[in-house]
Amino acid sequence: MLTNQEVAEGLLEKFGDQVFDFEEPYGLLTLSTTREEIIPLMEFLRDHKNYQVIFLTDITGVQYPDNTGKEYVVVYHMHSFVHNFRIRIKVALSAADIHIPTATGLFASANWMERETYDFFGILFDGHPNLKRILNIEEMDYFPMRKEYPLEDATREDKIDALFGR
């Protein structure tokens, strides 16, 4: 079993300053990289015999509207069955240039995960074979998980959020 420290050191050695912001929230190794390095990084983790992170658990997006220049974050969760460690990789994207290369070449499962992320956040995965909406109707003209679309009708006056601590 590899420790997070060993994995982090190995990645730093290989990718240098292209991997940064190492954290360990609740024991799960978290790091950030750039969108140029994300595919090489995942490929390296998957194919290197010391890591063998053969399983892509999840891809999802998060939006931080106030974080100018890094409004969107694509989050990858990966899992090495061989050495039993999980790793979380984040890539920050700016709202002006919301492109990231697809991981479908590495993992077949990335197909729908990326479509879902596109559907919810409008993040464009370059090179994706079939990037269209998956859960919502195709005619939809907005990306519902973005924070600018409030869940409830903002014009309603019968519900006062302040009274409910919201």
Binding site: P25, D58, F107, W112, L135
Partner: protein, 408 residues
Amino acid sequence: MADIELLPHNVPSQSELPELVEELTTLNLGPTHPATHGIFQNILKMDGEKIVSGEQTIGYIHRAFEKIAERRPFYQITTLTDRMNYCSSPINNLGWHMTVEKLLGVEVPKRAQYIRVLMMELARITDHIICNSILGVDTGAFTGFLYVMQKREEVYEIYEEVCGARLTTNMGRLGGMERDLSSTAIRKIKEFIKSFPPVLRELEKLLNRNRIFMDRTINVGPISAERALSYGFTGPNLRAAGVDYDVRVMNPYSSYQDFEFDVPIGQNGDTYDRYMVRNEEMWQSLRIVEQAINNLPEGPYYADAPEYYLPPKNEVYRNMEALIYHFKIVMGEIDAPAGEVYHAVEGGNGELGFYLISDGGRAPYRLHFRRPSFIYYQAYPEMCKGSSLSDAILTMSSLNVIAGELDA
């Protein structure tokens, strides 16, 4: 006799024959088709009886749970998780509670952990008996289905004792369970442990070595271990392909390390192996249930975390602190710490993950569900390529795609 002219005059010559057109048929399987057991559509290209390619359309019951969750306090999100895999909702509920407990740093007492394991394993049994008996129905054996449904009813009665509900259970609370196991619940669980094996054995007898069933399922919809991993398979479907990945063993939660059980694996990843793996998992689940009920530790059934655990009602009426906490929790005055958690449990269909980002408010900043069905269902066209339509139905049935979990 005069010569009779035998040459037929009315047959057109070869050049006059209309040209035989070879074309593929498009077949709409779904959205509402009894064999899909849920609302999702498959547009299949058929060459006669054989499937050439397929494309799925999903999202028919998409309810935007992830968006709704961003406005709900943590304890109200269980009602959303109920409606994902509704065949085994306690696993979803308790998985969610464990995620939040991880965020809050609440240590759940051993007794509550054991009760949770018990309920989750009963839920796994209900999940698997539905999948396996429906597979029987799809191959033409209706009888077994009815017999095991009776047993599912008994499990639902246990749910009723534990949480009051049957299908959408909303089981457990942040920090423990909402009530202790009653004597009726314990009696019903013990009865179930005794009465379930004969029924399961009967179902096995009906299907396991049944010539028709074997012919219909062996080598139907196979997937190799490599492709299954690439497609993100987890749970029984991955284990049927020969990879022994089980979240309960690899990343134990809720005291699973205390229990002794085997992880059955298959070989070919076909429909028969998926059936057999689920079948054996039910026996293993029963073993865990038995160990849990026999070794049930004494002690409290909820954690000492008054700011998160909704206090028992009789204390709310008598005790000042309990009343205050009750009010604060219900009115959403409780803030969770900021943090980022990924927690996975072994759901009925595989790794059910909750990715939760809290910004310190009363509701999640972002919540993402890793739904196993959603991820592995994309392999379906590849799995049924070249097979006949009736085999494709079996493949789908044995994958156990639950529409609620698929669409969230």
